[in-house]
């Protein structure tokens, strides 16, 4: 289990466990993505994000708002670390920046109750759940969500015991140093413990898996050439430049 803040230096065989303050003082250069297992995202967990769809949730093709947590998987080809580039596909003007809290599972979670759920958490990290903007959520969309480099995460994983309330953390997104979104981890239909409980009711989360709490309404968009910085108070700041992808 983590003692403080675990980071994976790019040129070292082993992760380093330090106090968060020390990482912040020394800077977070040359770190790899935390080596997570399966990465799960949750669609429209943020109440305002669901509300932004208005009456459309009752119309075809959805016909009703989501009942159980609607999950999606970000596969391993999407995983990149702090400082790594995010490729912007040819023909795409902007990518959606999906700032979200990453919950790293530490203990296998199968049918856990809400009261026991936080005991399954090893720690937290910062995630950028990148998408090509798309209007329909009817079908899963690998082409829009699962491209290489579409899940920057890091810079480190903060041990859960250092995070008093994961459901009340300020989240800020900067583009080239300019603040473009200011939200928090509050206002979720399912806060952290409830989400783990409701997901583990139908599938097991394994130690090392990553569960992303959810992207807030009004996710900003960014272009190739811009630098995205996502800060979550008490966790860290994740920075990644967007670059135009040469190929198809």
């Amino acid at each position: 289990m983590l003692s403080d803040a675990l980071a994976w230096p790019r040129h070292a065989a082993w992760p380093e466990d330090r106090a968060l303050a020390q990482w912040q003082r020394d800077g977070a250069t040359a770190l790899r993505a935390p080596p997570v297992g399966t990465a799960y995202g949750v669609l429209l967990n943020h109440c305002a994000a669901l509300a932004a769809l208005g009456d459309a949730v009752h119309a075809a093709p959805y016909k009703a708002p989501p009942r159980a947590p609607v999950l999606y998987i970000k596969p391993r080809n999407t995983f990149v670390g702090h400082g790594d580039t995010v490729p912007v596909p040819e023909g795409v003007d902007e990518l959606e920046v999906g700032a979200t809290l990453g919950i790293v599972i530490g203990r296998e979670a199968c049918r856990v109750g809400e009261a026991d759920a936080l005991a399954c958490v090893a720690g937290y990290t910062v995630c950028n759940d990148v998408s090509v903007p798309h209007a329909s959520f009817y079908r899963p969309s690998l082409r829009f969500k699962c491209r290489d480099g579409f899940l920057p995460m890091g810079p480190w994983v903060i041990a859960a015991r250092h995070v008093a309330d994961p459901d009340a953390l300020a989240v800020r997104v900067h583009l080239d140093g300019r603040l473009v979104q200011q939200t928090s981890t509050a206002g979720m239909q399912r806060p952290v413990a409830r989400l783990i409980a409701d997901v583990s009711a139908f599938m097991t989360l394994a130690a090392g898996d990553l569960l992303m709490l959810g992207v807030a309404a009004g996710a900003p968009r960014a272009r190739a050439g811009q630098r995205v910085r996502i800060e979550i108070d008490g966790i860290g700041a994740l920075e990644n430049p967007l670059v135009a992808d040469g190929g198809a």
Partner: protein
């Protein structure tokens, strides 16, 4: 060759399936029943296809809203879903309609990025059989088919073994059959795939790099029926083998 992963004698072992049994690398030969069969590959990314057989598409036509020109319906699954040959799959107590799906499973053997159709099969390590159960009661119209339907623990049987690509000259020429308690219920042929194996590799690798160990479950033909606790479901693919799975009630 047929490559199996088994648990035996307190360890996970690799084995070659032969006519006379399972041969371990140290020469030990076991009968099929002596081993605990594990999924034959430790999976990377698990990609599954929906509605990829023309006949199954017709079967589902009443509830479909997609047109003929849509791109492949691909979704992902976690490793929690896999269970090996002769494994058990739970049927939730409140489910009214849970069905099997016999599918040709492709195992990637080489990194594939922007691979063209003509080169696609060079990136395949081999093939196995998947039985990708769905619990239709939990379908919602959000990222459909949602993970509560398709990513349940142990609800994707895989195996019995990995057959080398070299031993499968044409993945588009394989018949599929599913038997429930010995009775033939589902029948199809990979020539009826809407997007065949090379097309799927070309499509997926156009936006995501496929890596060795990644799996593509290519979809199921028509003939899916409800299964109940106690049912033995056998999925058979010509030249690959027979994948046996038993449905059990939750909590058993």
């Amino acid at each position: 060759m047929k490559h199996a992963r088994i648990a035996w004698g307190g360890a996970v072992r690799s084995a070659i399936a032969t006519g006379s049994g399972l041969r371990l690398t140290d020469g030990t030969v076991l009968a099929e029943e002596q081993a605990v069969w594990l999924p034959p590959v430790q999976p990377g990314t698990i990609i599954a296809l929906g509605i990829n057989y023309a006949d199954h598409k017709k079967e589902l036509a009443k509830e479909l809203t997609i047109g003929a020109k849509d791109e492949p319906l691909a979704f992902l699954k976690g490793p929690n879903a896999l269970v090996g040959h002769r494994g058990r799959t739970h049927r939730p107590a409140d489910a009214a309609f849970m069905h099997y799906e016999c599918e040709l499973a492709v195992v990637i053997g080489k990194y594939a990025k922007r691979v063209k159709r003509a080169d696609a099969l060079k990136h395949v390590a081999g093939y196995t059989i998947a039985n990708d159960y769905a619990v239709r009661d939990y379908l919602e119209n959000w990222y459909r088919p949602n993970l509560r339907v398709k990513n349940r623990d142990g609800a994707t049987a895989l195996g019995p073994w990995l057959v080398d690509a070299a031993d499968v000259p044409d993945p588009q020429d394989l018949s599929l059959r599913t038997f429930v308690n010995g009775e033939l219920k589902q029948q199809g042929h990979t020539r009826d795939l809407i997007d065949d194996v090379p097309a799927l590799i070309e499509y997926l690798s156009s936006f995501m790099t496929l890596a060795p160990g990644d799996l593509i479950l290519t979809g199921t033909p028509e003939g899916v029926v409800n299964v109940n606790p106690g049912d033995e479901v056998v999925c058979e693919i010509e030249g690959l083998g027979r994948l046996v799975n038993t449905i059990v009630s939750e909590g058993s």
